[in-house]
């Protein structure tokens, strides 16, 4: 199965019933597959007029209680930024798939990259936090897409599947489970103010059409949902809650695997470079090469770095100029060595082995 198809299948298995999208290479197979499959499960597929509209449509659909998703690549992702911020501010659960390609601008439409990792974290204006997943295989395209919907509903936040052309267009055999775990969005208790958070800092969801009479606005709002854009304290409290509901759950959201925790040299990867590193560790058969493989990149699971107690250095192969390497630098005292790669090709295992030789 192709990665993009696995993504679409994972979404439908997770109960996604609304897809609003716009064609863009290398993500288009997701829209095409949703167009084919959603009508058969009583879902809605709509090809919108642009990516601003795609993002808007999935937010609108989400307020009727539907699990909704869009898929795009760099240029479309840039266009979605304003409405992504709206989803953050209004705490609208939704899933945005970015099949990354080489940028900036039109760049390399048919070549893989990981250059949007920081845009996904910080691309819309203002302070906020989101959740981003990064699959390294077709199997993970299926599983992490399904998982993205649960996280979006649990935390009421846009969740990003930050994949790329390599995994999106990769074909592998996968296991499709009979059913995927589904965590439903919690409803707002009647009598509670619509934006009053529970202990987990997330308010219950007042679905449209259920008589809640909720006003949803991108303006700074109070717990009634009413605009209140000139109170410094209220704005600060709201934005800090939106950030803290994600950041305080970092360890719970974290999803990673660890190889050779006693190692002195530790690779940190997410997405396709993980495959090259796994090959290197297998080929060399040494236990002094460690590997931290992230499936969740944002919120950054910093405590995972501490599990490598003997680490002397962290090597970070990324298909960008070192976006997540900089994040790792913030958390550790040891040297962090980015291994950037641009142009669309993945780091080869031999390249990484040569890099290890130099470091010896």
């Amino acid at each position: 199965m192709q990665g993009n198809i696995a993504c679409a299948e994972g979404a439908i298995a997770a109960g996604c019933r609304f897809f609003g999208g716009y064609p863009i290479t290398p993500s288009t197979e997701i829209a095409e597959h949703m167009a084919l499959k959603l009508p058969k499960v009583d879902g809605v597929f709509i090809q919108m007029e642009d990516e601003l509209a795609s993002m808007a449509s999935i937010i609108g659909a989400s307020w009727t209680g539907m699990r909704s998703m869009t898929a795009t690549s760099g240029p479309g992702f840039s266009l979605m930024m304003e409405n992504i911020g709206f989803a953050v501010m209004t705490e609208t659960p939704c899933v945005v798939v970015n099949i990354q390609r080489g940028g900036p601008s039109t760049g390399q439409p048919t070549m893989g990259a990981q250059g949007d990792m920081m845009q996904c974290r910080f691309g819309s204006h203002g302070d906020y936090s989101v959740i981003a997943l990064s699959p390294a295989s077709v199997q993970e395209m299926y599983e992490l897409t399904a998982k993205a919907f649960n996280l979006a509903d649990e935390f009421r936040v846009p969740v990003f599947l930050m994949s790329d052309e390599i995994v999106g267009h990769m074909r592998e055999r996968i296991d499709i489970p009979d059913q995927v775990p589904i965590v439903q969005r919690k409803s707002l208790q009647k009598g509670t103010l619509p934006f009053h958070p529970d202990a987990d800092l997330v308010p219950g969801f007042p679905r449209f059409g259920e008589g809640y009479g909720v006003h949803v606005t991108g303006l700074t709002h109070d717990e009634r949902g009413y605009p209140c854009a000139t109170s410094p304290g209220l704005h600060e409290d709201l934005v800090m809650r939106l950030v803290n509901k994600i950041e305080s759950a970092r360890d719970r959201i974290a999803d990673y695997s660890i190889t050779n925790p006693e190692a002195e040299t530790v690779f940190v990867t997410y997405g396709p470079p993980a495959r090259s590193v796994e090959q290197v560790v297998r080929d060399l058969g040494r236990d002094d090469i460690g590997h931290l493989r992230l499936r969740v990149v944002w919120p950054f699971p910093e405590s995972a770095l501490n599990l490598f107690a003997s680490a002397k250095q962290f090597l970070v192969p990324e298909m960008n100029m070192g976006q997540v390497a900089r994040e790792i630098e913030r958390h550790v005292d040891q040297p962090v060595i980015p291994i950037p790669k641009l142009g669309g090709n993945l780091h080869s295992p031999d390249e990484l082995k040569a890099r290890l030789e130099v470091l010896r």
């Binding site: 808007a56 937010i59 609108g60 209680g65 304003e82 449209f208 059409g209 006003h215």
Partner: protein, 262 residues
């Protein structure tokens, strides 16, 4: 139930300037809704950004106050995912015709079952009186200090050409006609577009020799004529003055629509 029951009393007073025409349009909308007998929990108001778009927040139903220009794609998501909801969009000339122009023509083309009410005050009111795509040629605004040198958009003709099932234009002076038109739009499956010329004394009238609210309302009364009448005048070779605005029903038809209640 009265139309006043649809107001969110704890949001009042509203933000509109004294003499603003938007309140009239909101009243007409709620009178139409009340007359049709829509239920609060089956009705959703969606809006973009601007003075007009604050309207959704003053109504007791579920409402979505979105980003600038994007009310229609948000409403598309709401309506297609739950066709049982009645979805009304409040928008303005800047929101709909400038930043949201592309969404407007595509929503009309798809003919989604929405009622779109555009409060066209020919100016950006909230940001302090800049020219909009419907500012008449020659009119003064803060960004057209020597008079607008661009021709204005005719939004109703645009909606007709793009495929909306129901299109009508009235003004905030024509309260009864406007209420009837909104009701007719709500009853018509597919996209209904009701354009209403509204006075903006603060940012339009003040700069365009219509200082008093009544001057602008008077202007709308005296410079409008039924579309059919204007057509007859043109057919008989009579000259129609350039500042006369066509009002009335532009189209009522039955093209296939999307998102109609199952």
């Amino acid at each position: 139930m009265s139309y006043q029951d649809w107001f969110r009393q704890d949001r009042l007073p509203h933000i509109y300037c004294s003499g603003c025409g938007n309140g009239t349009v909101i009243n007409c909308t709620l009178m139409a809704v009340d007359e049709i007998g829509w239920k609060e929990n089956e009705t959703v108001f969606v809006s973009g950004i601007g003075c007009s778009s604050r309207a959704s927040g003053y109504i007791v139903t579920d409402s979505l106050h979105t980003t600038h220009g994007r009310a229609l794609p948000f409403a598309t998501g709401v309506k297609l995912s739950n066709p049982d909801l009645n979805v009304v969009v409040f928008t303005g000339d800047g929101d709909l015709a400038a930043i949201g122009g592309n969404h407007f023509i595509h929503a009309c083309r798809r003919n989604i079952d929405l009622t779109v009410i555009c409060m066209n005050n020919q100016i950006y009111g909230m940001t302090g009186g800049q020219g909009s795509p419907t500012t008449p040629a020659g009119a003064l605004s803060t960004t057209t200090p020597y008079g607008s040198s661009e021709p204005a958009f005719d939004l109703s003709e645009l909606a007709v050409a793009a495929g909306a099932n129901y299109v009508a234009r009235w003004t905030s002076y024509h309260v009864k006609e406007l209420t009837r038109a909104i009701g007719a739009g709500m009853r018509t499956p597919g996209l209904s577009f009701i354009e209403t010329m509204t006075q903006c004394p603060t940012n339009y009238g003040r700069r365009n020799k219509l200082r008093q609210v009544t001057d602008q309302v008077e202007f709308m009364k005296n410079h409008t004529a039924l579309r059919q009448k204007l057509d007859r005048m043109r057919e008989s070779g009579q000259k129609v003055p350039a500042d006369v605005i066509a009002i009335g029903e532009f189209v009522r038809r039955d093209r296939p629509a999307m998102g109609v209640r199952r």
